[in-house]
Amino acid sequence: MKTKMLILFSFCSTLLFANDKYEQVMQTNIQSIYKAQTAEEMQQSINTFERIGAAEKSKWEPFYYASFGYIMMATREEDGAKRDVLLDKATQVLEKASAIQKNDSEIIALEGFIYMMRVTVDPATRGQQYSGLAMQTFGKALGLNPNNPRAMALMAQMEFGTAQFFKSPTTSACEKATNAIAMFDATSSVGPLAPRWGKETAMQVAKQCQ
């Protein structure tokens, strides 16, 4: 009887341990993707996320962060065509995340981020299609979670750019940036794997507003 209990106990602990392992590895790797500076470091983190994603099957976070990593790589890529390839990869892995976690505000905000980056490849040609799409997608993300600071920050950035271009008032964009910063400050007690990036974007917009 004691033995059986013991086996049961150790079985449970392996399970617990497995779950701990997921969170632990994820946390370490999330830190490294935030800190990554070079394309090599980013690719390395992305690869780890993709391996975890392939092993876990029911977790959306690895794909979310892999997608985020590809977007970060895209922001540093000079060649437009190569930037598109990275954004294709970002889209591809994000689709895996949204297949697991449907209608998630964070995933949808990241989708909007990809559209925003698509514009930068060729603003003259893509401006209309993708900037509208990006704004619509950020709106959708905020519809699902009105307190998603990342969706708000990205929206502020997009709106600020548009207002600057047309030399129209930036009031609405600046309000959004301020709101986003407030949201970032309010949402400190989220899960260990929850996204935390984006405050700098909001701060930058707010700074330009002054």
Binding site: A39, T125, G132
Partner: protein, 717 residues
């Protein structure tokens, strides 16, 4: 004690058992290191990324038979089964490249592709809409590319010594029987389909795929847009009319509709016209598009439009200009196109479509009516199979049926009717074979059976492309092309065979860093052209023939100057034909030896405007002067045109667009009409064919109403 032992055993089994070290190197097929590749034990956390030198190393506690998986963007995934028993494993892996990469060779002979914004293309979809002088007409924009001849009085695409009827338009693979709006004699017509409807345009000046038939010289392949993503309402106020459009979007479907009214009447009051209008052209047009996504990658599309246009003018006799003949013209046009695309599995897909075309012309010339009705239907089914990433196979069947009926009231007030139908059944098969990323062959064959003349034809088409340089590549194409004789001749003789052309093309193309250079050399042979027996237009044979040859250059640069994009095209054409009424082989009047154009576009952010300039030049064209002893030896003056346009964006949802053609007001002459009979001195009198107005000025104000105000109609212009 026993429990403790068990516990230790359990601990050992679950953690410390047999760590296996796996290491190795990953390269491409030519042995170059691949950094950043993802190496893993499939389905576990264990793995590593390759270093800058392409090497990796990691340890795993997994045991037994496991798959090692190596992946990297642009390469095929590599899998190898290993047995993990604690013995170190050393791997040397060469990943195989996927062919569909950015830098793979493409078949470029004869073809200009616009759109598909992700690939390195020569033109973008938006270029067609923003070219000055084109006034948002697809053919107008493509006329600035090499291979085309400017024929100002027609507005159609004349390609490499072919006339306007030799270029055929396909929408989503389906043939459009009457792609141009009607226009008054000697005035340019516009395409019926606006550029903003399409996500991609492929303009081929020769050597095109076996999928496209019934086009002798050129295929204009238009891919309509997929599902719309944004709800919006668009309003346009134009100097020649107005339009309103609305798009409604659902999760997997979208529907849009547009109504447009065009009336040049007020405009013609303002600007002096060469034409003696009784009622200048007016038209009303409605169109609708529906998109439904099906399954994982499938889509069903429907597009339909209806157009009514009419005008009335006086033709003046050349000998006696005071003698007027009224000419009235009305056209009713309907077009419907339904198509679908569905992936059957990873390697097979099927697409198909059905299109219907109704075109009715009612002409009243000097009080005697002539009516013409053409109904055309086209059904098509195509299967595509990706055999491997080196082999693509495509095959399909088509049925085209065109019914034509013309009637007129003769001098005895009797109705005379001619009617015939042309059924054409076709099948094609084509394979694209990549020997490597640098060498591709496309070989296809098209068979067509024309039921009207009871004739079966088999036409081979082959292209190869070779990329010896990082950015530069060569391409060669050969093909046989056919098209049924035009209705105006079949009306007289329904036994006329299809006209035939053979194309030989050599192309060199470099695309690098937003700069493109193309050079192309070609030879084209015509056979079975319609010829009048002894100059009698009522007696027709297929005895005509001809040739066209030349070379073309194209340069585009969007890089050197910030926000400036320009392209330069030059075409040299040498062509002669022995056809129709020609007594000897001669250069047709629509052909010009030298065509040159420069298109420039610049976005000036200070004034929030995009400014465009287009300059076009055509060398003199031949015309026949009946007062001269030799045939077709008259030469028109050169053609020159400078056009500008400005799109001003004061607000994100508002655009003001102004365009002016022929800013310098040059009096271009396209040819001469001669009196049918000589005057009292025995001379035939001439009248120059001129532009209807020296300049065409267009002003439009476009609003977009949508939930977010950052959307505007710029791509539509």
């Amino acid at each position: 004690m026993r429990t403790a032992l068990q516990l230790i055993l359990l601990f050992i089994t679950s953690t410390a058992f047999a760590q296996t070290r796996i290491s190795g190197a990953v390269t491409d097929e030519r042995g170059a290191a691949i950094p950043g590749a993802n190496v893993s034990i499939e389905g576990t956390y264990d793995g590593a990324s390759t270093s800058l030198e392409g090497v990796f190393q990691f340890e795993t506690s997994e045991t037994g038979a496991q798959n090692i998986l190596i992946t990297f963007v642009g390469f095929k995934a590599f899998r190898q089964l290993v047995n993990l028993v604690g013995e170190p494993i050393q791997l040397q892996v060469a990943l195989r490249e996927e062919i569909n990469q950015l830098d793979a060779v493409v078949i470029s002979a004869g073809s200009f592709t616009a759109g598909e914004e992700k690939r390195r293309t020569v033109l973008k979809a938006i270029d067609i809409a923003t070219t000055a002088g084109a006034t948002a007409d697809i053919a107008g924009a493509l006329n600035t590319l090499p291979g085309t001849q400017k024929v100002g009085e027609s507005g159609r695409l004349f390609v490499r010594g072919g006339d306007g009827s030799e270029t055929k338009t396909f929408i989503d693979g389906m043939l459009v029987a009457n792609a141009y709006s009607p226009s008054a004699p000697n005035t340019p017509s516009r395409g019926r389909f606006l550029p903003f409807m399409f996500k991609g345009t492929s303009f081929s000046t020769g050597g095109y795929s076996a999928e496209y038939g019934q086009a002798l010289s050129s295929a204009l392949v238009l891919d309509s847009k997929d599902k719309a993503e944004l709800n919006q309402t668009d309003l346009g106020l134009l100097s020649v009319g107005g339009d309103v459009a609305h798009t409604q979007v659902w999760d997997r479907a979208s529907v849009s509709g547009k109504i447009q009214y065009t009336n040049i009447r007020p405009y013609f009051g303002l600007i002096n016209q060469e034409i003696d209008w009784i009622t200048p052209p007016a038209s009303i047009e409605g169109s609708t598009a529906f998109r439904q996504e099906v399954g994982e990658h499938g889509i069903v599309k429907f597009f339909g439009n209806f157009n009514h246009s009419d005008f009335k003018l006086n033709n003046h006799d050349i000998l006696n200009p005071n003698q007027k003949t009224p000419f009235a013209y009305a056209n009713n046009y309907g077009y419907g196109n339904a198509s679908f695309l569905q992936a059957l599995n990873d390697s097979w897909s099927v697409k198909g479509g059905l299109s219907y075309n109704y075109n009715e012309n009612n002409i009243v010339l000097n009080d005697s009516p002539i009516d013409e009705v053409e109904k055309a239907i086209h059904a098509k089914l195509v299967f595509e199979n990706t055999v491997s990433d080196h082999v693509e196979l495509k095959f399909g069947v088509e049925q085209l049926q065109s019914n034509y009926e013309a009637s007129r009231i003769d001098s005895l007030s009797l109705k005379q009717t001619v009617a015939f139908s042309t059924p054409i059944s076709a099948g094609f098969v084509e394979a694209e074979l990549y020997a490597s990323k640098y060498f591709v062959t496309r070989a296809g064959v098209r068979t067509e059976y024309n039921g009207l003349i009871d004739k079966l034809n088999v036409d081979p088409r082959v292209s190869i492309a070779y990329k010896p340089f990082t950015y530069g590549q060569f391409s060669l194409a050969y093909g046989q092309f056919r098209q049924a004789t035009q209705n105006q001749f079949l009306r007289i003789n329904q036994n006329l065979e299809e006209e035939k052309a053979e194309h030989f093309i050599l192309n060199y193309q470099v695309i690098n860093n937003q700069r493109t250079f193309r050079a192309e050399l070609y030879h084209k042979r015509y056979a079975n052209l319609v010829k009048f027996i002894n100059g009698n237009p009522e007696q027709l044979t297929n005895a005509g023939d001809g040739y066209a040859q030349g070379f073309e250059l194209f340069w585009r640069d969007s890089k050197t100057v910030r926000n400036l994009d320009y392209w330069i095209s030059y075409s040299y054409l040498d062509t002669e034909r022995d056809y129709l009424h020609f007594p000897t082989p001669s250069t047709p009047s629509f052909a010009s030896a030298h065509n040159f154009s420069v298109v420039g576009k610049k976005f000036i952010s200070e004034i929030k405007s995009q400014v465009g300039v287009t300059y076009s030049y055509s060398s003199p064209r031949a015309y026949n002067n009946p007062n001269s002893e030799s045939f077709n030896t008259g030469r028109t003056p050169v053609y020159q045109d400078l056009s500008v346009n400005v799109s001003y964006l004061p607000k994100p949802f508002l655009i003001i667009h102004l365009s002016v053609t022929n800013v310098l007001g040059r009096d271009n002459i396209f040819g001469y009409d001669y009196s049918e009979a000589p005057d009292s001195n025995g001379n035939y009198l001439s009248r120059a064919i001129r532009q209807p107005a020296k300049r065409f000025l267009f002003l439009g104000v476009f609003f977009t109403i949508s939930k977010n105000k950052s959307v505007n109609q710029l791509p539509n212009l």
